[in-house]
């Protein structure tokens, strides 16, 4: 994936617009990931320049936070909760089913670029465990069947 001039301009504009906020780095990284789906490694020098930080400092922040990613995600990201409440309601079996159905492990993207799978440690939907989120849609009391239905529905609309 090349770092095109258009992408660079987008990133420079985002950084210029937010750099004067106190503690601007996280807001800038969020804005970039919202716009592009990920934070291109090539953008690190531009972000560092805008904030007068070293590239190492920017890279260190990006790599510290689980949410920030430096590769493009699939069209939809499936966030599956691995935490205790979901485990108490069969989350482990669901996890096995999801990985099997998508044919990928955590932090991977399906070959057709349709889905990325990420673990999440709590969606705050513990009263409706097990829980997951696909894109912006939250799901509760998820079973293998409801997962399959959700994935098929998305696949058909794509």
């Amino acid at each position: 994936m090349s770092y095109s001039g258009a992408t660079q301009l987008t990133i420079q504009n985002i950084a210029a617009g937010l750099k004067d906020k106190p503690g601007a780095l996280l807001p800038i990284l969020h804005a970039i990931q919202n716009e592009l789906g990920y934070i291109p490694p090539d953008s690190v020098p531009d972000i560092a320049d805008a904030l007068n930080l070293s590239r190492a400092e920017v890279h260190g922040v990006i790599s510290f936070y689980h949410y920030f990613r430096d590769t493009p995600p699939g069209k939809k990201t499936v966030q599956l909760c691995r935490a205790e409440s979901c485990q108490a309601m069969g989350g482990k079996q669901l996890e096995a089913h999801v990985k099997n159905r998508l044919g990928i492990d955590y932090h991977e993207t399906t070959a057709d670029g349709q889905f990325s799978l990420e673990p999440v440690y709590c969606l705050g939907n513990c009263a409706c465990s097990p829980a997951m989120q696909i894109g912006d849609e939250i799901y509760g009391r998820v079973s293998a069947a409801t997962f399959d239905a959700a994935v098929s529905a998305i696949g058909e609309s794509a």
Binding site: P22, G23, A24, L25, L26, P27, L29, H30, L51, E57, G60, V61, F64, Y65, H66, Y67, F68, Q79, C81, A83, E84, S85, C86, Q87, A88, M89, V120, Y121, C122, L123, G124, N125, C126, A127, C128, S129, A131, Q133, D136, I138, Y139, G140, R141
Partner: protein
């Protein structure tokens, strides 16, 4: 005449189909020519009944639930819009035992009002606390909070009034109020419910905190996993600015308070207050050494109040009704109410706000109705991923900070996760070590390395390898984590691990319980 109907927009209700139900109700109403005013409220917290539909009648709000799209036509056929009888009819919402037996102070409006309507908020007692706070001296605001006995609801239970007093008495050109809304503890969702269901109460609480200590800037550090709360907070903040409840001249008083939401990025450790401040400053979320206390040198080196959502959301009612009113709930040194969250393998999960003092057993069975699977509840983890597992013999512990501490357990943020007898507690202990390894900020060695070693030792134990060596090794490692870690992540991971080992030694391959100790 138009009928008013409530369908929750709480994200858990949405996860069960509330958006689809709301849409189906509007569609069916249009087809039948019924005039409806549909309000998307917060959740009442009775998740076994969500999606819950409430109809306003002369007698009060009548509840129907759980409603699915397929039920909507039948509800209209039964004239639910005038409170007609139907298989899903539950009667008056506020007479439902699950709801009626609660003492809702902090959650007084959640599920009752339109979360984004400032008028609704004010009609239900909102902004009375701020109005009182604007009339009294800063020290008197702090005194009201101190008198209420409110302790930090995020989990550490530090007296809120003492924290505020330190910030009040530290002079500085700039002070900050931070709301810790990084509700990362699994099994907890009360912060989310308040932010989605009554965002103005948090804004009001933070504004009062700002007035009390002389801080003019507030930040809500919100976890990125809560997009619905993010949107509700941003909309409520914009409304509050327009109405003069935030900004340069609070209600014409000449006082100033600005508020902004900042998003976290999926790091559990950023719920630790010093790590949170590092993150707000745009850095890696590494835990800081204490002292200095954040109250003296916090965000950008300035005096800072860091309080949990529930602590701050409890402030308006304290300033409205007085510290004594709040203190009269609860017992001992645990005053007021604690919104408990029932989750995991439980029949009636949800939000239960009660005065301190009820037993865990009452909560699990009288409210929770026992396990969802119908099997015996074997273990209950209270207080999030750093909380101990309680066996049945400890279910009579009262919900009270000191009573829990006496058992080497923690009440924390009030999360309760039930497990039935199919749970393997050695596997849970391994998971607890794994979680610590994934989320460790890496600054201190016991947590960074100890958690990974803990996972490896648990793997050996689960395989049954050399238990005579590995069990003492696990205990020794937990001892190092407990005493040598910089913050609660490493320091409290031994709570779930050792409680699992102590109470469920058979899952660790130890048949003779005398050897487990």
């Amino acid at each position: 005449m138009s009928v008013t109907i409530y369908v929750s927009k709480d994200s858990s209700a949405v996860s069960l189909g509330a958006d689809r139900v709301a849409k189906a109700i509007m569609k069916e109403a249009a087809q039948r020519g019924v005039s409806l005013n549909l309000i998307r409220n917060g959740s009442r917290g009775m998740y076994a009944l969500e999606p819950l539909v409430e109809v306003v009648t002369a007698k009060g709000r009548i509840a129907y639930g759980p409603v699915q799209v397929a039920d909507v036509a039948g509800l209209f056929h039964a004239h639910f819009e005038t409170g007609g009888n139907h298989a899903l009819a539950l009667g008056l919402t506020e007479e439902l035992p699950y709801f009626k037996r609660q003492q809702r102070l902090t959650f007084a409006r959640v599920g009752l009002t339109d979360p984004l309507s400032l008028d609704d908020y004010r009609q239900h007692g909102g902004y009375r606390g701020l109005s009182n706070a604007l009339k009294i001296a800063q020290a008197d605001i702090v005194k009201a909070v101190t008198d209420s006995g409110l302790r930090g609801r995020g989990g550490a239970a530090f007296p809120t009034g003492i924290k505020w007093n330190t910030v009040l008495n530290t002079s500085s050109d700039q002070k900050y109020i931070i709301c810790n809304a990084d509700e990362g503890d699994s099994g907890t969702f009360s912060d989310r419910m308040v932010m989605e269901g009554d965002p103005f109460v948090l804004i009001e609480g933070m504004t009062i905190a700002g007035l009390a200590v002389g801080a003019t800037q507030g930040y809500i550090y919100l976890r990125v996993e809560y997009p619905h709360a993010h949107s509700a907070l941003n909309r409520a903040i914009a409304t509050a600015y327009q109405a003069g409840y935030l900004g340069d001249n609070l209600q014409g008083s000449g006082k100033k308070f600005d508020l902004e939401v900042r998003l976290g990025a999926g790091a559990y450790v950023c719920g630790e207050e010093t790590s949170l401040m590092e993150s707000l400053e745009g850095k890696r979320g590494l835990v800081r050494f204490k002292p200095p206390l954040p109250a003296i040198s916090g965000l950008f080196g300035k005096p800072t109040v860091v309080n949990n959502v529930i602590s701050l959301a409890s402030v308006p009612i304290i300033l409205d009704k007085g510290g004594e009113y709040y203190r009269d709930f609860g017992l001992g040194r645990s005053r007021g109410t604690l919104p408990m969250q029932l989750a995991g393998n439980i029949k009636h999960p949800g939000l239960v706000e009660v005065a301190f003092g009820m037993t865990l057993r009452e909560l699990l069975y009288d409210f929770g109705g026992g396990s969802a699977s119908g099997r015996p509840i074997r273990a209950v983890q209270v207080g999030g991923p750093l909380g101990a597992y309680l066996p049945e013999s400890q279910f009579d512990t009262a919900l009270d900070y000191e009573a829990f501490a006496a058992n080497w357990t923690v009440l924390g943020h009030g999360g309760v996760v039930a497990f039935d007898d199919t749970a393997n507690m050695a596997a849970m202990a391994r998971y607890n070590m794994e979680f610590c390894a994934i989320e460790s900020c890496g600054k201190c060695t016991p947590c960074r390395i100890g958690s990974t070693r803990g996972m490896e030792v648990m793997d050996e134990i689960i395989k049954g390898h050399d238990l005579a060596k590995n069990i003492p090794l696990l205990r020794d490692l937990c001892n190092t984590l407990l005493n040598g870690s910089l913050c609660a992540l490493g320091g409290m991971t031994p709570y779930p691990v050792l409680s699992a080992l102590n109470h469920f030694p058979e899952d660790f391959g130890i048949q003779d319980t005398a050897n487990a100790a």
